[in-house]
Symmetry: D2
Subunit: 422 residues, 4 copies
């Protein structure tokens, strides 16, 4: 019985952040059940952050569902204010936000900088969406247009990718919940209630301005307290060095143990050409392979590598596995070359490693918070008189200068046991 079947394609998911998340339509149900989406259960939202905040094991799966839930809440609130949103648009917007992270691999940032340099997660997201769209007979046409900003009603795209999108609203709340850093808690319900639409663009009612200010601040705080936490950065840099070293060895013909899924990418067996030029069969194979790659492959391989014959790779991996992370110094100015050189030389003396090898242990980098840049996406405030202004004109604290300042910090990493002064 088809009605029956349709009825079965509903699901309620228990989410500790919002309580119950209904997956109320067959199309969304099928997306959630798809192996490409289920794989997000195996990819942590915050990468190695769990090494600092032990609760941060939540996944991209939860986040994507959560953001889709908020989309539903927001569209319902907008309708209550007289904004027409058709059922098709609602479905498309939910599908788009559900899939917004579908192209992410495990520890994406590190992976993309080392092993999968030819394919960004944005490109992969597009490929996944095309594939899923074809599999569902074009059910995702509008979702893809909304996602890509081609859909005429701009606010739908802004809800997916803007200063106040569902992605941010969910991850701030969720990352706070799982890390235990209460500073990220935002007035979610209130922000959603304050959203409105004017000329098909998203606006915020002026009486919600304090909540928005707090939201911007909360985000900034999560950046420095969690996402760019010194030790989190240390862990990510370590993984970067591990994957970089493994890639280098692989390219030099070294045979490293890996899971097959990782092998395919590590040894460059995937089509390196422009993804737009892939044949349907090539695309599907690439995606099926990629869909098998997740956190488990990276961690499982790193554990094996900790007994590798290459002393650099082995040492780096032991640090990761046993959580003996680099020490990180952080400051606003670049570190002087001489200091770095001095540290490297000392380590060379102590360990007998070469200059090239030591560069995996003693190095500098920059981290940069583009977080609240207003470059392209403004927050528009709707005054009581109906006028729409940018938040920097209205807010007492969010002036242009403060809000758009890009903060760049410099880090210096090294193994504590050789080099720490203290």
């Amino acid at each position: 019985m088809p009605g029956m079947e349709k009825n079965k394609k509903r699901k309620i998911i228990n989410d500790p952040v919002y309580g119950f998340i209904p997956v109320g339509s067959p199309v969304l149900f099928d997306l959630v059940e798809h192996p490409y989406f289920q794989r997000l259960r195996r990819i942590r939202q915050l990468g190695l952050t769990y090494l600092v905040y032990p609760g941060a094991n939540h996944t991209r799966f939860q986040h994507s569902l959560g953001a889709a839930y908020l989309m539903g809440e927001t569209l319902q609130s907008l309708r209550g204010k007289g904004v027409a949103v058709s059922p098709e648009e609602e479905l498309a917007a939910k599908a788009a936000i559900l899939l917004h992270d579908i192209g992410h691999g495990p520890f994406s940032h590190a992976l993309e900088e080392t092993i999968i340099r030819e394919l960004s997660h944005e490109q992969l997201s597009q490929l996944f969406m095309q594939q899923l769209n074809e599999e569902t007979g074009g059910m995702l046409d509008d979702a893809i247009r909304i996602f890509g900003g081609q859909y005429p009603r701009k606010f739908l795209n802004q809800l997916i990718s803007g200063q106040l999108d569902m992605d941010r609203l969910d991850y701030l709340q969720r990352d706070s919940y799982f890390t235990g850093v209460s500073e990220g808690v935002i007035g979610l319900e209130r922000i959603i209630k304050m959203l409105d639409v004017r000329d098909d663009e998203l606006v915020v009612e002026i009486k919600g301005i304090y909540s928005i200010e707090k939201f911007v601040l909360a985000r900034r705080m999560m950046y420095w307290q969690v996402y760019f936490h010194k030790t989190v950065v240390a862990a990510e840099q370590l993984l970067l060095k591990i994957l970089g070293r493994a890639h280098q060895l692989a390219q030099a013909g070294e045979k490293l143990f890996t899971t097959p899924a990782l092998h395919y990418f590590l040894y460059g067996e995937y089509p390196a050409q422009d993804p737009a030029l892939l044949s349907p069969r090539q695309r599907k194979e690439l995606l099926d392979r990629f869909a098998l790659l997740d956190d488990n492959d990276i961690i499982a391989s790193a554990k094996v590598w900790s007994g590798s014959g290459d002393p650099v790779l082995a040492d780096l991996c032991r640090r990761l596995v046993n959580r003996k992370l680099f020490h990180v110094e952080i400051q606003n100015r670049p570190f002087p070359e001489e200091k770095v050189e001095e540290y490297r030389k000392k380590m060379m003396r102590d360990t007998g490693l070469s200059a090239g090898e030591v560069a995996s242990f003693v190095f500098t980098n920059t981290i940069s918070n583009y977080a609240y840049s207003t470059a392209d996406h403004q927050i528009r405030i709707l005054g009581k008189d109906g006028s729409v202004k940018d938040i920097t004109e209205v807010s007492e604290i969010m002036d242009e200068q403060v809000i758009s300042r890009i903060v760049e910090k410099h880090i210096l990493c090294y193994p504590k046991e050789y080099l720490s002064n203290s």
Copy 2:
């Protein structure tokens, strides 16, 4: 400077359940930093439960720290009531609870029933504690005695393994937090405040009786709603069948892809003799090997096996990876043999699998909640007159019959697509 160094051996861990957890002593600090303990970061507290409750990715690492935190709170409260607890006893009790799960492997239940049948997690815990005790020069002597129930002051053992131990108090609260099942929330602070000691045994002040009743109920509810949730059971049974099949193939000489850590156990390369007879070197090797085995090895291997040449293993693994779990029927009586046979025959016809192979897909089992058995551990209630009675004598609802009833349920698992009636 040693004092300096000692001072550095302190840590505050951000825990979303309790806020901040201090690790305040160098001995505990060293235990937490040890690779044997750090590995618990890679073992989920609730196994495959995340396939049903997506938030349930929390680890044995967090749980162990949480239980040690509660131990500190409880001992502090007991001291406030005049119970003498020496600093050494406090340290030993905290170390004992910190290590109470140290012998757990990934998905322990499934693993122990299939691959590592000769070594229980209890035995492994003992080996780990001995090893760590030797490495720390006997610092854990008392912890081991408390853990094993040989320490004269019985209540310390009861705080680790009893009806109201720190293990339970933490996991109920924590599992509730991460699954989002609010029914497990207990009046933690109140329960701790109600604990006291009489004749070196743990008692609860009578005015805390309602909180204790609720605690027993909350535990029971978590059993049926989470730990024995139909779909959680389905996932665990599936993994059991996967590991069983893999073990069978390995024993038949089939070469399966595995991570090296899993290979060691799957192919029975570990010393199968009585662990008490292991030489120190053998013990250390066993533990070092075991310490490299975690959730990642199981999941990474299962993903590879989903492309295995063995159709049974491949099908089972695809179900796990893509979350196409068995359908589960659950009832109080055993399922009739004929029904099982009928299902098996139907599947044999549909798939061409043999009778032996089909047994991995259609099977029965029992689950049993020994949870609130009073067999050996009572909850003692301290009356206002100083008398101590068992809770079943005092409580209006917790009578012997209700509380000690062991509930056994029967399950029947099968692949929905072949056999579901609906």
Copy 3:
């Protein structure tokens, strides 16, 4: 513009328990704005409980709004399961639960036992509803029928007054929130999701049975830990004695300071006849007078009486104002007459008060928890096979005997300073 006006009759109320509570219809809006309803802002939900749990200052106003909110959530969930509920029925059900406490005076229990003995809060609720119905031109006809159990669809009445009604669901959650007694927290969202309707009666899906068991337990716990907390009982008994004494003095012609609103009732100036026989004008006057009576009148008067010429009244009031409450002994058996007599005599000797006067200070009483009696209202469980059974047949712990046992306790109150043994 009437449409405009109508549109303005909407409101969102910030509630710390549920976030935002919308008052979405003009009829409900008018009810909430009515002085009869606004007065509930000045009547605490839990009477004098704030003397024990300082947070318990929440009012009947909040509770009534909260219960109406839950009604909306429940009806929406039921509709999702195919239960037809017309917009008129929704409005009526919300209005009925909104007004279910409208007849409560300040500290109702004490007031009704002493000063307003001729009028119960149930009778007053009916009078208020009739009055409001007439003022709104019969908009409340159905609400009154639902409230009174005369509406054909029985489940609507069960949602207002049954084992699982919105009243209980809200007060457990709310009283927990404001007292800080976490044992009352229930799985609200889950319970609501488990409700369904069969043959126009409310049922609970079997898979919700653990949540229901916990709900019954949570309620029981709140009874003993909050509602019947020894010191709460002591405070209520004290107020009972105060109002009783004031009433006695008033009847003897003594002129006591009171606020005019209290004076009207204390000096029996209201029509004592059967409320059904009141003329419309009499009814309105009675209600207008009653609507001016709230917590402030009682407390303000008691403060003045603490300087009264009557030594009994003055002493009792000083105890209330300065929170020097009676000492309470509580036990399962009645207290022996001789003990009470002995205490009274000792107090007579010490204070010079007469036997009659001392009875206001040394006395016994009983408290009785009819809370989870199943006498008339069952909890019906809907099995997977569609059968409906009483919870006592299905639950493993809620057997008839346990659930319907009425617990009666005996209390003995006296001023600690004269009589305490300790």
Copy 4:
């Protein structure tokens, strides 16, 4: 047995914000039990805010206890960092914060501007402390010195009255909890952990800077969203007009119904001279009288006055009792005189009231947020190099200009039904 007695002078108070608050010393116990302190149970922390946020019925009693609790937590954390704090200092600091609001009357702001103009709550606090100090034989000497800033260790005073004092930390958290405005939630535990002392002044570790920024923002948000919420201001202005009118009538010899406690102040029967010149007997009488004045007196009297013969007082009171508050316009510039005049004239025409009388209904005022002024109290940040700088030098968003800007807003109030344009 004195030890016994001492032991009895302990108490654990159930607080929904922090769980359990222990009152652990006999001196503090006696303060809490004192009628002067118990009266704070009858004074709402946020005055009439409950007319907008129905949950905001929490009292100064709870707040004072909460602030004292935080003081204990803070001092314990400071000791952990090596800051010496003697038991006597701890007691004094806790007593000082416990009593910091002791001089507040009901709806203090309105009361002080109209009826009790000669005595500020600061002066009354001092009188209360002196009185309590004499009653306890000088136990509060140090508390008074800390409170007054005369105690040599400055940070103790800063914990009571500074940018980051326990008063603010508690009220932000508590007001958030009871209003349900989540924007006030701060990272309390983290802020406390970041506090340290240098040169006897309070400093914040630099790594806590984001939490501090969020704290300043959260406070600012609570100002505009709660404390200066338009409708809250409307309610406060209404009460101001009511008390002003009553005072005016009283001075003109009109006999108004009041409770005796209010009568004493309304009819100016208290000694109007410099409080420092009061004799001990006069002081005690003044305090005893004042201690009987609380929210109940004001509300009970206003209810009676709603039937007053004076049409202005009666109308104003009916608005308060039935929550028909003024409409408020709010803007950054002053309102033009002509607009106000026009409104007044229109109301005079419509109601027949005189120009003087109409001024109680149509009027302007200013509200001003001195909240985060840095005038005298800085927030000092402790760098990693040990240097101490003001937050405005270190923070990226808290520059001098932003932080010290005093925001003044102008309001225009009037009865909506006569004058609203809409």
